[in-house]
């Protein structure tokens, strides 16, 4: 896609902002134009958290994404709130472990991934975010995953570098789902 | 032969203070301390808002005029910019103990390496004699015409006692200048407060009980006596904190 306007939404702590950062750094490596915009404030502490990532071949205008062409919904409130906003022909990726609903829209491409359960089964608890990103990348081609490790290295502190491997494992699991 | 002269760090111009006001004495004591320590060339003074607002025209060192109450914050900025400078503020009771309480307390808490000369005359002088945070219970002022009623406007703020509860400050002493002996003691305290800064010891504040005959409605002589009779009993003189001395004593 020429310009991906991606909205990633979930509870605070599910890693929505982290997942967005991964996409942003992947975009940086691939020399795309991009912006990453988080929601901020007290709602970040255990409430809803979301971030908007725009990846484009052209300069990014507004960094604000109110009508995404890619939505990653990590919980039910995010699904309810943002599913109607996805543009026609856009993509929806939902964590079906936590979202007991499916989109009734016929004009979007919806994918349901039991990401939380998969993560738990694989010993990757907390990495449902990257499983969803893996699936999203496969379906949309928003970024390539060729330099995933490099992208992580750019923003994961050296102290936590050991976690990169697991993140890549989760990405792969999502990509192959 | 000893010739009585103005200290070099006090500019030879007439001061604007009222007859009997003790600002002149304290200015002189500050200037003598600066001269004796040989620090005029690196001294930066911060003038307050209040009667001593124009102190920048009287001291020969570099001077900054601060907003009301903010002198300790301004001094912090100067000292952090150039720690080799000797930075002092000269503030009245409204400036330091009312509108600038937060700046005072936090500069003390940080043990900011500055010197504060605090003139406590229990009244707002420049604006014409209103109740100060340090006005005594029952004291008649323009804004407490029936005497300071503590049930309405609370109790005086005892700065030395209050700050002495903090771990931060190095040196706190209350002095007065209402007779020759007390002037000598005040001189010693003020010089020590500068010396502490030179030695990098930290925050030193000297509270000087001062006279304001004009706004107290007294003759200069009555005013000096009023300090003895009314202020000192409420604001006892003495050293409230001397960390270095306490440490030495402990060792």
């Amino acid at each position: 896609m020429n310009t991906a306007t991606i909205l990633i939404a979930g509870f605070g702590g599910q890693g929505a902002l982290f997942a967005g950062k991964f996409l942003a750094y992947s975009g940086l490596i691939e020399e795309k134009q991009l912006s990453w915009l988080p929601s901020y404030g007290p709602e970040m502490r255990g409430g809803t958290a979301n971030c908007a990532v725009t990846l484009s071949d052209e300069p990014v205008g507004s960094p604000i994404v109110t009508e995404p062409n890619v939505l990653i919904a990590m919980n039910r409130p995010s699904f309810d709130k943002f599913e109607p906003a996805v543009v026609p022909d856009g993509y929806l990726f939902a964590d079906s472990t936590l979202i007991d609903a499916e989109s009734q829209r016929k004009d979007i491409k919806a994918f349901y991934v039991p990401a939380t359960k998969m993560a738990a089964d694989m010993g990757l608890t907390g990495l449902s975010n990257m499983i969803l990103i893996g699936k999203m990348v496969k379906e949309t081609g928003a970024v390539s995953l060729s330099d995933a490790e490099e992208a992580f290295k750019k923003f994961v502190p050296a102290k936590k570098a050991a976690l990169i491997e697991k993140n890549i494992e989760a990405l792969k699991a999502g990509f192959e789902y | 032969m000893v010739v009585f002269d103005k200290p070099h760090s006090l500019i030879d111009v007439p001061l604007h203070y009222c007859p009997g006001c003790t600002h002149g004495i304290v200015h002189r004591l500050v200037a003598e301390a600066i001269d004796e320590l040989g620090i005029e060339g690196k001294a930066i003074g911060i003038a307050p808002v209040g009667c001593s607002v124009m102190a920048y025209d009287y001291f020969n060192c570099d001077m900054i005029e601060a907003a009301h109450g903010r002198a300790p914050a301004v001094a912090t900025g100067v000292k952090r910019a150039n720690p080799e400078n000797i930075v002092f503020t000269y503030q009245g009771d409204g400036d330091l103990a009312s509108i600038g309480t937060a700046e005072t307390v936090h500069a003390a808490a940080r043990n900011e390496n500055i010197t504060i000369i605090f003139i406590n005359n229990a009244i707002y002088g420049m604006t014409g004699g209103q109740m100060a945070p340090t006005s005594l219970p029952g004291q008649v002022t323009q804004t407490s015409p029936y005497g300071r009623d503590t049930s309405l406007c609370g109790w005086p703020v005892k700065i030395c006692e209050m700050l002495s509860q903090l771990d931060g400050p190095e040196y706190l002493e209350r002095v007065t200048v209402n007779n020759v002996a007390n002037v000598r003691k005040a001189k010693k305290a003020i010089k020590k407060a500068f010396q502490n800064q030179v030695e990098g010891k930290g925050f030193s504040l000297i509270e000087v009980l001062s006279a304001c005959p004009t706004n107290w409605g007294m003759t200069p002589r009555e005013a000096l006596k009023w300090i003895d009779d009314n202020m000192i009993p409420y604001y006892p003189l003495g050293v409230y904190k001397d960390r270095s001395a306490a440490k030495e004593a402990a060792e």
Binding site: W36, P38, Y40 | G41, D62, E65, G77, K79, N85, H106
Partner: protein, 353 residues
């Protein structure tokens, strides 16, 4: 060529300030700008600089006042309610002709308001803010790259004209990450013979002061300051134009509102409407030139703002009321969508508003 890195706008400001030679930061925590303080707290001790968390915004701006008096490149940052508290100090800085950089990552108001982005401090920033006759140079970045560039420019302008400069950002531009390069030639701070650094017994004492009890003298200081402001107006106005050459409808917007408006202008062009965008980069001095020029052919102007309509007054003054100037805005932390701006453009183009 320096490496392209991803950074939040607030962090880019902090890094650029360090590159500009700022080694003194005084601040107090407030959302949404705390990243600046956090960045400075981490970096300053490692490069021989000073980070100090003040007891209040009031204390912080007065520490800036003292530090600037001492001749240093110094900054503070805050967000709207905190900037209100700083106004007294800002007036003193202006009245004493002291340079410094003040960052305002604006949030919705009035009062405690909210923490989401806003541009409703435009009047406060451009028309004075504190008491007395004075101006700040006000810079309005619209991207993370520009937050870095204008931070450096801000320090240079502050030193050049001996006056405070405000970087007027907002919650969005502060929080968003974009690629940025730090590839700058920084003009070093000039000599500051007026600074209070100690006489060393070699010169008359310097006095930093804004008190003049004789009205004749105070008037002269004001007149001289306004002469300086005229020079700033002549030389320092900055703006960016987008598709304005033949535009019928010209949108005026700064900061994040300009980013949204640009999307709307592109969409309008796709739909056959000749729309254009003027993005003031300096809000004071306000760039009147492009507006006067555009007024020669444009049918109408629209001021798009995250406020109830503040910059619109300067747009109207710039076109001397020769053309209608409409308003399109959201407040309280809401941001107009490109669709809302597009609809305003359509209305203005139809002239049936």
């Amino acid at each position: 060529m320096a490496e392209k890195v991803l950074m939040k706008g607030n962090e880019a400001i902090a890094e650029a300030a360090i590159i500009a030679g700022c080694r003194h930061y005084f601040g107090y925590p407030i959302t949404p700008q705390t990243e600046i303080a956090a960045y400075m707290a981490k970096r300053m001790p490692k490069i021989g600089g000073v980070f100090l968390q003040a007891e209040s915004e009031i204390a912080a701006i007065n520490m800036v006042y003292g530090c600037s008096s001492a001749g240093k490149r110094v900054m503070t940052s805050s967000s709207s309610p905190g900037i209100s508290l700083k106004q007294e100090g800002i007036s003193y800085l202006a009245g004493s002709d002291l340079p410094c950089l003040i960052v305002n990552a604006q949030r919705g108001g009035p009062g405690l308001g909210g923490i989401q982005p806003s541009q409703s401090d435009y009047f406060q920033a451009t028309k004075g803010g504190g008491h007395g006759d004075y101006h700040l140079i006000v810079l309005a970045p619209a991207s993370v790259q520009e937050m870095a560039e204008l931070t450096i420019k801000g320090f240079e302008l502050a030193d050049k004209y001996c006056m405070p400069v405000m970087l007027l950002a907002d919650g969005t531009t502060g929080q968003m990450m974009e690629p940025v390069t730090f590839d700058f030639d920084v003009k070093p701070a000039p000599e500051k013979p007026w600074a209070t650094t100690g006489t060393k017994m070699q010169r008359e004492h310097n006095i930093v002061n804004s008190l003049y009890l004789q009205p004749e003298k105070l008037e002269v200081t004001n007149l001289e300051r306004y002469k300086k402001y005229e020079t700033v107006k002549e030389n320092e106005a900055m703006w960016e134009e987008f598709m304005t050459e033949d535009a019928d409808v010209v949108v005026a917007a700064f900061g994040i509102a300009a980013r949204v408006s640009q999307n709307a202008v592109i969409e309008a062009r796709k739909q056959g409407i000749k729309a254009g965008l003027i993005r003031p980069i300096t809000l004071w001095p306000f760039p009147e030139t492009p507006f006067k020029k555009a007024a020669e052919h444009a049918k109408a102007f629209i001021s798009v703002e995250l406020s109830m309509g503040q910059m619109i007054e300067d747009v109207k003054l710039s076109v001397s009321c020769t053309k209608p100037v409409y308003f399109c805005g959201r407040v309280g932390g809401m941001i107009p969508s490109p669709a809302e701006v597009l609809s305003a453009i359509k209305k203005a183009d139809g002239g049936d508003r």
